[in-house]
Symmetry: C2
Subunit: 207 residues, 2 copies
Amino acid sequence: MSSMSIRLAYTAAGAGLPGVKVGPRARIVAVARDLFYRHGIRAVGVDTIAAAAATNKMTLYRHFPSKDLLIAECLREFALECEADWEQISAGHAQDPDGQLRAWVGYVSDLMIKEADRGCALANAAIELPDKDHPARRVIEEFKTAQREQLVIWCRDARYIEPDQLADELFLLLEGARVSIQSVGINGPGARLSRMMQTIIYHNGRL
Amino acid sequence: MSSMSIRLAYTAAGAGLPGVKVGPRARIVAVARDLFYRHGIRAVGVDTIAAAAATNKMTLYRHFPSKDLLIAECLREFALECEADWEQISAGHAQDPDGQLRAWVGYVSDLMIKEADRGCALANAAIELPDKDHPARRVIEEFKTAQREQLVIWCRDARYIEPDQLADELFLLLEGARVSIQSVGINGPGARLSRMMQTIIYHNGRL
DNA sequence: TTTATATGTTACAGATCGGTAACATTGAGA
DNA sequence: TCTCAATGTTACCGATCTGTAACATATAAA
């Protein structure tokens, strides 16, 4: 198997403001999130995580009963941060549903650059963990479902003619862009995501 | 780690017509494709593959220098089969580009049911193998790029106003549907893929 | 029948996997 | 200063991983 030799290029430093003590648990989750995302969940072992978090395997297992539950916790933290972003979009354009939707288009377009070439951590995890009983799957399903519902609400509030279908189209375009970046590369169709979404929104029409 | 115990539920039988001898190499690839697809590439070991193919690890390594190259071969076979399907769509609607495009929509809609809940094997592999030097990545990138170009050709031949953008939209919708099935489930937005594609094609307009 | 090639069998190497036991060390609050 | 909880350290378990060596067997062509 391609060994690739991940190995720690960074220590616990860099996480958190200077002077603020960051406990091992927080470091473990931060490091695990990064390594899981960059290299894949199954490609990263607990030894690597503990070492990269400047702690040890024993402390890791004192905070997380198993690697699977650590995975779930990483995805839960990621999902909470995403939800906070979406709420910020909502709050930043209160009483302006169409502005919310358009702000969201800008937000996800920036994601294409920020995520570079590894797409959505939750979608990737769903592919890497097909076992329906895995504790991470609850997090994934609940979060993705909530995202889609939020999109429907925005489309409906903005009085688009077919809000459910428009929301589904935008949802699938986003998911497709994030996954296709990893197969056709950064200059693939995902690069034109913003224009596509605007076109589709315009074509849908308002009441 | 969630052990899940894959284990062989089937032997070499069932592959090929009766009376036709299927060599170990073909059995290995067939079995590996199935196991990789259902459980994930990293989740399946070579011992499991050899046993499920009713052969042994030594024979496997006589035909494939490494697991990574076996992975690449599995994806190559899959890609060739997909290309054959697309060519059949082309041939079945010669001199009728719009018919080709609409036949393709029907074809990918059926894929949503056939693939059940594991999406595209190539896209999944890209997520599981982020290493850019992995031999499988060439296969993935070339195939996905060729698919997108074929879509552009169909859209252009059918004289749609913006063939490149329409092709990209269809491409991303398909990729998004296949990946979202694995996160939001079979009844998510992917279930309405056909209607969405028809709507978008209609909205694009013809010359 | 002889010969050469493909395949099967067994055992093993070296590494890594997830996970744990036993014990030492640190550090902050009382 | 004492105490106690969190953390660090080391060593280990059994299983699994990719990959190989050596040898036995089958099989088809000559």
